[in-house]
């Protein structure tokens, strides 16, 4: 297979891993206001404390992979999306420092707010980044040539809000796995309602995108895409149906898996709509690729190291599997 295609797949993989994994960490943070007391908040935060850093590292890897394989994309999009991206990072700062700061605080109230607001900021900024990316970027001579706020429009704002619902769905289905009793009951309810909202947004995006960006519609209707593009909404609907059923029958792991499939359906649909453009509307990912030696050399590193990484990250998850308890031996 072509080196550039492999790298495009790697970038796509790390982005979806980030979205799903940090998605549930951020989602849990978004649900913090629904906790009844400090003990419940402790539990919510403990459920992600051992894994958030590894989850967030997929973002750094994704950004690094874009830098390696598609330097023009890295340069142009990071300049174009300067404000949402740095807002996103700012949100992650507040979220990230909370774990240790809150554990050492006697009055936890302000850190609860920092945790919630930082995560909210990060999620909305992520949505705006995605919306801004889809809205298209003005490029001249391989450099960003637009304005600072080109990313801001009703469509990107809508994506920002949609992502909040999406991450709440991931967070609440994750909490179904990690909690028991009344907290789990509440998570079932939250998962149900957020699932409905997510479905609504996915339908909205599916209708809005081709209206807003006519090229996407031409893409959909052209061969060969027309033969498989409908698969993704169908997959999404199927996942949604199984999700609701599994919530009704109080299954514990299945709702989270269904939510992941729901995300995956949306994500693949998106890729299929944008492909082969790396900087919509006009620049393909083939045009932005790095030198072959760089791609080959770094790919070898990835092939050797990434399986090991996946191995120990999975091991680390397995150490912390099961219901989260009050950590008596919290450091």
């Amino acid at each position: 297979m072509d080196l550039i295609v492999i790298w495009a797949c790697l970038v796509a993989l790390s982005i979806i891993l980030y979205v799903v994994l940090d998605g549930f960490s951020l989602g849990v943070a978004l649900l913090l206001p629904s906790a009844r007391d400090e003990d419940e908040r402790d539990l919510l935060i403990s459920s992600v404390a051992p894994v958030w850093d590894a989850n967030q590292t997929w973002l750094v890897f994704g950004a690094g992979a874009i830098f390696v394989a598609f330097p023009v994309v890295y340069g142009v999009l990071f300049s174009a999306l300067y404000i949402p991206l740095l807002t996103f990072v700012l949100g992650l700062i507040f979220r990230g420092v909370t774990f240790e700061f809150r554990a050492n605080a006697t009055r936890k109230q302000s850190w609860n707010s920092a945790f919630f607001l930082g995560s909210l900021l990060a999620v909305m900024a992520q949505g705006l980044t995605l919306g801004g990316f889809l809205s298209g970027t003005k490029v001249m001579d391989g450099q960003f040539a637009g304005d600072s706020f080109d990313w801001l429009n009703p469509f990107s704002a809508m994506v920002g809000i949609a992502l909040i619902a999406g991450y709440i769905l991931l967070g609440s289905t994750y909490l179904i796995i990690k909690t028991t009793g009344p907290m789990q009951e509440r998570a079932y309810g939250q998962a149900f309602w957020s699932a409905i909202v997510v479905l609504g947004f996915q339908i909205l995006v599916t209708i809005w995108t081709p209206i807003h960006y006519p090229t996407v519609l031409t893409n959909w209707l052209s061969s060969p895409r027309i033969y498989f593009i409908w698969l993704f909404p169908v997959l999404g609907l199927g996942a949604f149906y199984r999700l609701i059923k599994s919530l009704k029958s109080h299954r514990e792991t299945l709702p989270f898996l269904c939510s992941v499939v729901l995300f995956l359906a949306g994500y693949l649909g998106l890729i299929a709509s944008v492909y082969p453009y790396a900087i919509p509307p006009g620049i393909t990912f083939q045009q932005t690729a790095a030198q072959r030696e760089t791609l080959r050399f770094t790919l070898w590193g990835v092939i050797i190291v990434l399986p090991v990484v996946l191995g120990y990250v999975i091991y680390s998850y397995s150490v912390f599997r099961g219901k989260v308890g009050k950590e008596r031996f919290y450091h």
Binding site: F61, G64, F78, S79, I83, E100, N104, F144, V309, V319
Partner: protein
């Protein structure tokens, strides 16, 4: 005045602010993780409970520190693209794989095992926990290696060829193991070890001065002083080697650091202990010099020729005043810490290491100096690299993103509020952890408790434990 509202100038300030905030945390993380490896090794080996308590206490400091280091580091990776996109696009073929390898081999390793290190006490066995600590420590070293490989390449670029301006890779092992890498990596990692050793020593001295946690503090201090005793002298040797490396590869930078204007032709070049360099007039106000000192230092010969600043074009010179003084203050700190260790050696021979109050007070006073030296060293090497991004090949002005200054004013303004605030809170919680003192009573999780371990009776009697 125009420079102030310029995206280039602001981006440089922003990158400097972010780096200088960020570097404080790895400066402690790298050395402290190594210290924790030693302590946990002693715990597993000897089953002495104090070592377990030591680990738990120093791991608390480590954890607070690590969290801030991670999040401030993410900002940097984004800023290559947001603020220096032209640079990123120009060098990515050569430069970006080094960052990608940092994520792959270091960030994941640290993140994957940090959870076990901090939260895994009830979940994994002692050996597994020790392994997790070792892997986190390895991750911090690898992280330093890759990011410094990237920085070293910017300082001493090799292994590339140019294709219509763009840097293309000729050979990756040449790129990675570029001329300034070995000395930069060792100098920086040893700086972190030294900084951490003095932090642990200072805090332990504080406990001893207040007669708290005697056994705990003595052992903590002893381990820290062994570490400092090894690394403080080594650092002076590495610093000297680093100076000669700069002399060979970046002679303008060396001349600037030394405020050395005229190339010496007949006699040796003097070393200025004090001077106030003036760049437009190309001379120093008030000089206090050691004759032949500079020649001796960098060429290791009495009359060695050292090229002066005047033979290099003005537009290729870094800010002489800044690097002259940052370098001298860094060296001064290196020697202060070295002499503290000489004193420690003398006290140790007399067996008075733990009860000589002036010495303990000195340790408390000097304990933050490692951070300061790290910042000063970083300023010396980075300001000294100017006006280049890629040394002698790409100017800093050519690398900035095509963004309006307003963007950077916004983000720089936010960072200037948030970084000091986070720094203050960090400092507050570290102090709080110290005030609380060491937890000597919490039960050891059953899975960690070796069979037949004796409890720490003497320790408990002598100490007040606050919760």
């Amino acid at each position: 005045m125009e420079a102030i509202v310029d995206a280039l100038f602001l981006s440089r300030i922003q990158f400097a602010v972010t780096t200088m905030f960020h570097i404080l945390f790895p400066a402690l993380t790298i050395g402290l993780s190594f210290y924790l490896v030693v302590v946990e090794f002693l715990w597993v080996k000897t089953n002495r409970e104090t070592y377990y308590r030591m680990y738990r206490f120093w791991a608390k400091i480590f954890a607070i520190n690590f969290g801030v280091g991670v999040v401030s580091g993410v900002v940097l990776e984004f800023e290559f693209g947001t603020n220096f996109s032209r640079f990123s696009q120009m060098v990515s073929n050569v430069f970006s794989p080094l960052l990608a390898f940092e994520v792959l081999t270091a960030f994941f390793l640290e993140a994957g095992f940090l959870g076990i290190m901090l939260f895994g006490w009830e979940k994994v066995s002692r050996k597994t926990h020790f392994l997790a600590t070792c892997l986190v420590a390895l991750g911090t070293i690898l992280s330093a290696f890759w990011i410094l490989a990237a920085n070293s390449w910017m300082q001493t670029p090799v292994g590339y060829h140019r294709l219509s301006g763009k840097f293309m890779v000729a050979d990756f092992s040449t790129v990675i193991f570029n001329p300034s890498l070995p000395i930069r990596v060792s100098h920086t990692i040893v700086a972190s070890f030294e900084t951490s050793a003095f932090v642990v020593a200072g805090i332990s001295a504080y406990f001893l001065l207040n007669r708290k946690h005697i056994d705990f503090s003595r052992r903590s201090l002893a381990a820290a002083l062994v570490m400092a005793g090894l690394f403080a002298p080594l650092q002076i040797f590495l610093g000297d080697a680093s100076g000669r490396q700069v002399f060979h590869h970046q002679p303008v930078k060396l001349a600037a650091i030394e405020a050395h204007w005229e190339t010496n032709t007949t006699a040796g070049a003097p070393f200025f202990v004090i001077a106030f360099p003036e760049m437009t007039e190309e001379r120093n106000f008030y000089e206090f010099a050691i004759p032949n000192g500079l020649s001796l230092l960098v060429t290791h010969s009495f009359n060695g020729r050292v090229p002066g600043l005047k033979i290099f074009p003005r537009e290729d010179r870094p800010n002489v005043l800044i690097v002259f003084w940052t370098f001298r203050l860094m060296v001064a700190i290196g020697f202060i810490l070295f002499f503290v260790m000489v004193w420690a050696a003398l006290l140790w021979r007399k067996g008075r290491l733990f009860d000589h109050r002036p010495f303990l007070q000195t340790l408390l006073i000097v304990h933050p100096l490692g951070f300061l030296a790290t910042e000063l060293g970083w300023m010396t090497t980075e300001v000294g690299r100017q006006p280049w991004l890629v040394y002698n090949l790409m100017r800093t002005a050519e690398g900035v993103s095509p963004i309006p200054a307003g963007n950077v004013i916004w983000s720089l303004g936010l960072f200037l509020i948030i970084f000091p605030a986070i720094g203050a809170v960090y400092f507050f919680y570290i102090l709080k952890t110290l005030r609380r003192g060491v937890d000597l009573l919490s039960p050891i999780p059953p899975i960690q408790r070796p069979i037949g371990m004796r409890p720490l009776k003497d320790e408990r009697k002598g100490d007040s434990v606050m919760g």
